[in-house]
């Protein structure tokens, strides 16, 4: 048992940290928000940092690193609440590497690694809410391959992506397909989300599609679990910075002639935030480390992690605003945007109640990390 980061991981953290500090300040983020919430140049910079290739197998031009390295990178991006969805690269990579044919891997993984192709998961449907097994999208075999007809909501960077991984019904079960955004019959309408990042509604009408796997539900569950672990890591970074901003403010802000950090009731709140941060970090590690387990254990573990993170994120975000007072609800203050990010992330990949249901449903007689 060992929770130390390797030297390589530490170097990766330092590199991403430096880039966030120097290259992704609040002003740049604000400009990207004003321009729609996604900047391809940032994506290219992430690629240059080696992040889009981080988990791509070496055989496909990647660095062949694992979930812990992805976690390290995402923690640092979360610390800077970077809008561009690096997690999608990890999701696409894992899904293709685990489920796609060699041909599809050879075609797509090098392009994902290089940053040339932004491939995102397009799975959200109106009736599904947080369920992965509800899918009305339809696929059919064609002469050239397959064609997909679907309406997918809230697709991350959906009008900026190069291709989508799309679940759709094929012969009575869910399969996964790759569809290029430029393909015939694909239309994406973009908009900003709560945290100012970008999403889109994507309409597929008989769009030409490449089959990734007919075992689509298993692959989609894997995608969601990578998504949860990514969300956890990113959130830990965002919460760490939230706590730092909050305590800094408490020490500087005076009321009744003294810093508000001197009020015991507020001090205890800060202690409770520290508690939530460390519980969340613990469960983020747990999530990352369990990503390689067999599906049953993996799913249970990732749901447990999301329950903890959901609670922590809500508490951290709300208390940060409260401890800041008025400034905490202004658009011009950076801390407010951390609150928005933490709010939104709770509802990504299933909220706290949803995953509590999953944990409850999968509960066994034993208990604990190794149970």
């Amino acid at each position: 048992m060992d929770f130390d980061f390797s030297d390589d991981q530490q170097q990766l953290r330092d590199a991403v940290h430096r880039w966030v500090d120097k290259g992704y300040g609040f002003e740049r983020r604000r400009a990207i928000v004003a321009a729609g919430g996604f900047d391809r140049r940032v994506w290219n910079e992430l690629a240059e940092l080696g992040l889009t290739s981080l988990t791509v197998p070496e055989a496909h031009g990647g660095l062949g690193q694992g979930a812990v390295d992805a976690m390290v990178a995402l923690e640092e991006l979360g610390r800077g609440i970077v809008l561009e969805p690096l997690a999608q690269a990890f999701i696409a990579t894992r899904v293709l590497a685990d489920h796609a044919s060699q041909a599809v891997q050879t075609e797509w993984l090098p392009r994902i690694a290089s940053g040339e192709a932004l491939v995102v998961l397009a799975h959200q449907e109106r009736k599904a809410r947080y369920r992965l097994d509800v899918c009305e999208a339809k696929a059919a075999q064609t002469q050239a391959g397959h064609a997909v007809t679907a309406i997918k909501s809230i697709v991350p960077a959906g009008d900026q992506a190069d291709a989508f991984i799309v679940p759709a019904q094929l012969d009575g079960r869910i399969a996964l397909f790759l569809v290029e955004r430029g393909a015939a019959g694909v239309a994406a309408a973009g908009y900003a989300t709560q945290d100012s990042s970008r999403a889109a509604e994507v309409m597929f009408k008989d769009a030409p599609a490449t089959l990734v796997t007919t075992d689509g539900l298993a692959a989609l569950e894997l995608a969601a679990d990578v998504g949860i672990a990514s969300t956890c890591a990113y959130a830990v970074g965002a919460m760490e910075e939230t706590l730092r901003l909050t305590t800094e403010y408490m020490n500087q802000r005076k009321q009744f002639g003294v810093p508000i950090a001197s009020f015991q009731a507020l001090r205890h709140r800060a202690a409770d935030m520290k508690m939530q941060l460390e519980l969340a970090r613990s469960m983020s590690y747990y999530a990352g480390l369990k990503l390689g387990e067999a599906p049953d254990e993996r799913r249970r573990a990732l749901s447990r992690a999301k329950v903890q993170l959901g609670q922590s994120m809500r508490f951290m975000g709300q208390q940060s605003v409260q401890l800041h007072g008025g400034i905490g609800v202004t658009d011009e203050y950076v801390g407010s945007h951390y609150f928005k990010v933490l709010t939104q992330l709770e509802m990504c990949w299933g909220d706290t109640l949803h995953h509590l249901g999953e944990v409850s449903g999968r509960m066994q007689e034993t208990a604990g990390v190794f149970a």
Binding site: A192, G326, D331
Partner: protein, 393 residues
């Protein structure tokens, strides 16, 4: 002890309900029921309709042109307005500054200012908070210097709610730096169109500019706009804070919003989801308990008692409940609360809202906006200090 309203109270409620429902413009009610954004015209339009009826000044005694209602009648009026989907009455004029003018203003000031407040013609703003002084009002730094028959005002206010619409503003200003901080404060009425007044809206998390910074650069204020005596402003401000007791819990709005939450849960397929439904049920209990608390305070006030110890709880609990229903509405929509499309928060938007339910458009915005409720009006931490004082000394 009796939970039922008297026949007279019931008749009163029926009259108010009839009138409100027939005079509230449906397009405004639609916005309120769906948390769509209200314009200045919506807010002031309704105020003027009430003003014409004499009900904008619903809390005023008869001698100043109010209806002279008792605490229960005021509550019933507020409840009927809330349930009908009326916008909240902007309180700065009729609820906040008017009682101060009535209690401490000269007859001339009363004659000059009260009619415009009662009619809804004049929009008032509040100049209390300053940068660096949120819940700590006594540390006011904005200076007002007496020069002849004028005050020259310099300084800055902040968090001025809807100050961008304000015609007039009541201010706490420092006229002396001697003695305790509280003793050198004066209460000054100020025409916001005066030269030297600059209003800068502050954009908030929800994308709107509900509050403002207001800068005073050598603003000349005629001395007859001082309320009462110089350096006694703290007394008047405290008088003001002791008003507007029960409606601060906003329980009537909570009841309306609880019904909206149930509608959203149904649309989102959660009405039969036991886990989510339980959350609503728990909130329903909270709302009923808050309403009972409000009714107890009202009943005691009607009997001439001053239930200070329990009235102090209303703001804390009311604000927590406001935040909770906003949170649950957002969580009900879940992924479909993510799209943050400001145009869709306006009435009449014709676009396609992601996921299809345009009713979900303002949910995150409301959630963000209502974080203010535990901060403003004396943060809930300050309120807990006050409650603790009542039980511990």
């Amino acid at each position: 002890m009796d939970l039922a309203f008297t026949p007279e109270e019931q008749a009163f409620r029926a009259e108010v309900r009839e009138w409100v429902r027939s005079h509230l413009p449906p397009q405004i009610a639609h916005k309120v029921h769906n948390a769509l954004r209200l314009t200045r015209e919506d807010m002031q339009g309704w105020a003027k309709i009430l003003g014409k009826k004499g009900w904008l000044a619903y809390g005023w005694p008869k001698q100043f042109g109010g209806p002279g209602w008792n605490a229960v009648q005021k509550h019933l009026f507020e409840e009927e307005c809330a349930l009908a989907g009326a916008p909240r009455i902007i309180p700065f004029g009729p609820v906040m500054v008017a009682p101060v003018i009535m209690a401490f203003g000269t007859p001339e000031q009363q004659k000059r200012f009260l009619p415009g407040i009662a009619s809804g013609e004049v929009w008032w703003s509040q100049g209390y908070s300053e940068p660096g002084a949120g819940s700590d009002l006594a540390s006011v730094k904005t200076r007002a210097e007496r020069v002849g028959d004028k005050y020259i005002v310099n300084g800055q206010k902040t968090w001025t709610t809807l100050g961008q619409y304000g015609d007039w503003m009541f201010n706490l200003v420092r006229t002396s730096t001697e003695g305790k901080p509280q003793t050198g404060i004066s209460f000054l009425l100020l025409d916001m169109k005066s030269p030297g007044v600059t209003v800068r809206p502050i954009k908030l998390l929800d994308g709107e500019c509900e509050v403002n910074e207001v800068f005073f650069d050598n603003v000349e204020v005629p001395a007859d706009q001082l309320i009462g005596e110089e350096n006694k402003g703290w007394t008047y401000a405290k008088h003001l804070l002791s008003h507007e007791r029960t409606n601060i819990a906003d329980v009537n709005r909570a009841k309306r919003e609880l019904e909206r939450l149930k509608r959203i849960a149904k649309t989102e397929g959660l009405w039969d989801d036991l886990r989510f439904r339980d959350q609503i049920a728990l909130l329903e209990v909270d709302v009923v308990a808050l309403e009972m608390l409000v009714l107890r305070v009202l009943s005691l006030e009607k009997s001439g008692k001053n239930p200070l110890d329990i009235a102090g709880l209303l703001k804390i609990r009311g604000s927590e409940i406001q935040q909770r229903y906003a949170e649950l509405m957002m969580l009900a929509a879940g992924p479909f609360s993510l799209p943050f499309i400001e145009e869709a928060m306006e009435a009449g938007w014709q676009g396609n809202f992601p996921g299809g339910e345009v009713a979900n458009a303002p949910l995150a915005s409301s959630y963000f906006n209502l974080r203010k409720t535990t901060i403003y009006g004396g943060s809930n931490e300050v309120q807990r200090n006050i409650v603790a004082q009542t039980v511990l000394g």
